[in-house]
């Protein structure tokens, strides 16, 4: 059995806005094991990106981590000083975003930028990294002679994302966080990028957190999946278990709502819409939309509990109170 690389405990993040306090994460708990591919799934605004930014300690004003621990490789990142964090970010934990171009400098050639990031990690000059740049580009199936001399705007979305992957993995990070890496891409390019990520991560044994709203992408890539709803973690299980035996009413609803090629059975959406996190529903945040809601659901937040080995769910249907 692998040990834990990352344990997030009772993480609570808020944003202070003119509309009021956004309760973005409400006591989120999860553990990512070494070499695991951990998926975070949920609809827009449920807190996926905030979770990943919190792990990187990149929550900035008007946001704040108000409670919780983020234990990475034995250290609590919530208590870690900024200069120590700088040696962790990009080295031990790397990140890939949905919009790769936003993380590249528009006026510098791609090769130079890759060189810069390698040089920073290796503590050498960019010149000394020339071979590394070529190697890194080849690893993501790009031709170094051609691509190194391009500016970011000359890249297609797929090429830009390959470069982000190349840079993120160049430091051989213990943890790679990929936040919707293919959501902006076409389906054929998405498939190429996911295959590439799959190959590289298998080869390098990185631990990965993959954030996506696409259950198909998660089903194909992840070992374990956490489902989030409105700032809360509602269910966690091994991928096969989650799809075969979903327990939380929201997870069940989500699985019935996704159209699948080859399945023309009637779809059922979830009535209502995602709540505003300035005024989240009391108790279980899903209760206004839940077909199984009971009296207790609007007053008491259900705790995350292990129902079957490795299968955790936060729902009163499975509490001791109800047998």
């Amino acid at each position: 059995m692998n040990g834990a690389l990352l344990t997030v405990k009772n993480l609570k993040v808020v944003f202070h806005t003119y509309r009021g306090t956004v309760h973005a994460l409400d006591h989120v708990n999860f553990t990512v094991l070494k070499n695991e591919r951990f998926g975070i799934i949920g609809e827009t605004g449920c807190g996926k990106s905030v979770t990943s930014l919190a792990i990187m300690r990149l929550i900035e004003q008007p946001g704040e981590i108000v409670e919780g621990e983020i234990i990475f490789d034995g250290k609590d990142l919530v208590k870690t000083q900024e200069n120590a964090l700088n040696t962790i970010r990009g080295r031990e934990i790397s990140m890939i975003f949905q919009e790769p171009l936003s993380s590249l400098n528009p006026v510098m050639k791609v090769g130079f930028q890759i060189g810069e990031s390698i040089a920073r990690i290796k503590n050498t000059s960019i010149k000394a990294c020339k071979n590394d740049i070529a190697e890194v580009l080849r690893a993501v199936d790009l031709d170094p002679d051609r691509v190194a001399n391009l500016y970011p705007h000359e890249l297609s979305g797929g090429m830009a994302q390959r470069i982000m992957i190349a840079m993120a993995l160049s430091s051989k990070p213990k943890l790679l966080i990929a936040d919707e890496p293919t959501s902006a891409l076409d389906v054929t390019i998405q498939a190429q990028i996911m295959n590439l990520l799959d190959d590289l991560v298998s080869k390098m044994n990185n631990t990965v957190i993959l954030i996506t709203h696409d259950l198909g992408v998660a089903a194909q890539f992840c070992d374990k999946i956490m489902i989030m709803y409105a700032g809360t973690a509602v269910e966690q299980a091994k991928t096969e278990e989650l799809f075969a035996n979903p327990l939380h009413p929201y997870t069940k609803g989500l699985l019935k709502a996704i159209p699948r090629v080859g399945n023309r059975d009637r779809l059922t959406g979830i009535p209502g819409s995602v709540p505003d996190l300035v005024n989240p529903p009391s108790g279980c945040r899903f209760h206004p939309r839940c077909p199984n809601a009971m009296k207790i659901c609007s007053s008491q937040k259900p705790a995350l509990m292990e129902i079957n080995p490795g299968h955790l769910v936060a729902c009163h249907l499975y509490g001791d109170e109800n047998g």
Partner: protein, 324 residues
Amino acid sequence: MKMDEILIEIQNLKKYFPLKRGIFSKGLYVHAVDDVSIQIPPRRIFSIVGESGSGKTTFGRTILRLIEPTSGKIIYKGRNIMNLNQKEMMTFRKKMQIVFQDPYNSLHPRRLVKDIIGEGLSIHEKISSGQILERVKEILKKVGLNEDHMFRYPHEFSGGQRQRIAMARALILNPEFIVLDEPTSALDVSVQATIVDLLIELKNTFSLTYLFITHNLAVVDYISDFVAVMYLGQIVEMGSKDDIFNSPSHPYTYALLSAIPDPDPKKKRSRTIPRGEIPSAVNPPEGCRFHPRCPYAKEICKRSEPEIVEVSKGHLVKCHFPLR
């Protein structure tokens, strides 16, 4: 198909946009829609599917002459609407509506819902504001909203509700034909299913015909009667839903289908996905436009553009070597 079984027919439609960027771009064109022909029978859902930039939106808008085509014919109920002047076009506009992808930008932010929905009526029909209000009330119910919603602004609604408002706006003029341009792509999955079902229900209630534009093949499989697959401005394969999903014959269709990640962890995804990326529509590849990415490409594919062949009744494929 017999003539009276077709509501709208598009013949050899082309839309080339002049390239404006740069000093060397004179005389260069984006081949956004390049010789597309389709026929849509009444009360059916005809889907256009393709990756971004394949020309879906341009095609949809050109059909309604919201964008003027470069050439081609648009025949609505036997009449070529390309020759109509502004005024004659007005009567057709009522019959042909469009709903856009983005429910956040397509509704005027500072107008009340009743005015947004009623606008078309006040332009096209001479009726009192009281009558307009009655019609708005009626249509709101049909799209699953209620009259309380009339006096609110778009920002007070969720994405799914806004798409209901957009449908109400299109429906109030009693149209026959609606172009739906990615109507559910901006919505969350839990809401998407509800809106897709609403679209089907409205189609049945009002005897509508849809041109449904999307990049989501799973939604296409769920909703369509007929499907056309677009690649770089051209239709590469077209047929009934079963033709496309059960016996895809164009290598690109096959590739698209195998690239979709299956939301079932037990079915491992295919590793045979097309290499490379979609080329520019300014200089589309010679011969078959898919040849640089096609695993089956032969010499002839680089030189000669494939004809459209009928591989089975109504199942059309633009390929020298259709798959069986």
